[in-house]
Subunit: 124 residues, 2 copies
Amino acid sequence: MIEPNFPQGDGLVPAIVQDAETKEILMLAYMNRQSWEATLRTGRATYWSRSRRSLWVKGETSGNFQLVEAIFIDCDNDTILLQVKQIGEAACHTGYKSCFYRKLDGKDFVVVGEKIFNPKEVYK
Amino acid sequence: MIEPNFPQGDGLVPAIVQDAETKEILMLAYMNRQSWEATLRTGRATYWSRSRRSLWVKGETSGNFQLVEAIFIDCDNDTILLQVKQIGEAACHTGYKSCFYRKLDGKDFVVVGEKIFNPKEVYK
């Protein structure tokens, strides 16, 4: 059975998160085996927070869960792609729809993303 | 000036590669500062090959270059998103259009991707 190669990446593999409908890239997060199994079991995207060093059910604080619609794996089994339905329309803790809300324009990045919520009102 | 946080990831940041037109995810690769600067300078996606430990101009062997149309950075400055025009229609060294050619179906992954070329004919 094919499964993500967790040992190679010190227990973690990156997961690209894509809006299932619009194909927009929402974020990149990391999964360990525990979060991978939780994602499969619950259908809600669950990651490993490298900064907090804990399991992270995306949306547990904000309510902006990610309902998993499809899962792909890459040729080397070391990256996962999740296609999700993003509850609340925003994936980024800054309130933008996508974490990739800044685009390179000449020599610097400029904000081009759509802001959905005010993080001060969501994370209290 | 905002730039990718190379020191945090031991000199590397992941780069998600997306077809600029179809929004399909083609692959995930890694960049160090040298490959980042080469990408900006040449307009051709250039990565750091972790297995070969060398600079890797995507397409240098196959001819399947990636012409960079847009570059985004995420909220933490630790992931890059490249939107590219994929020359030759295929990004994956296996001959599939995307490295994510296998989808989870029940308990295992099954091939759903489109095969564009025979790798034995391309990599001689």
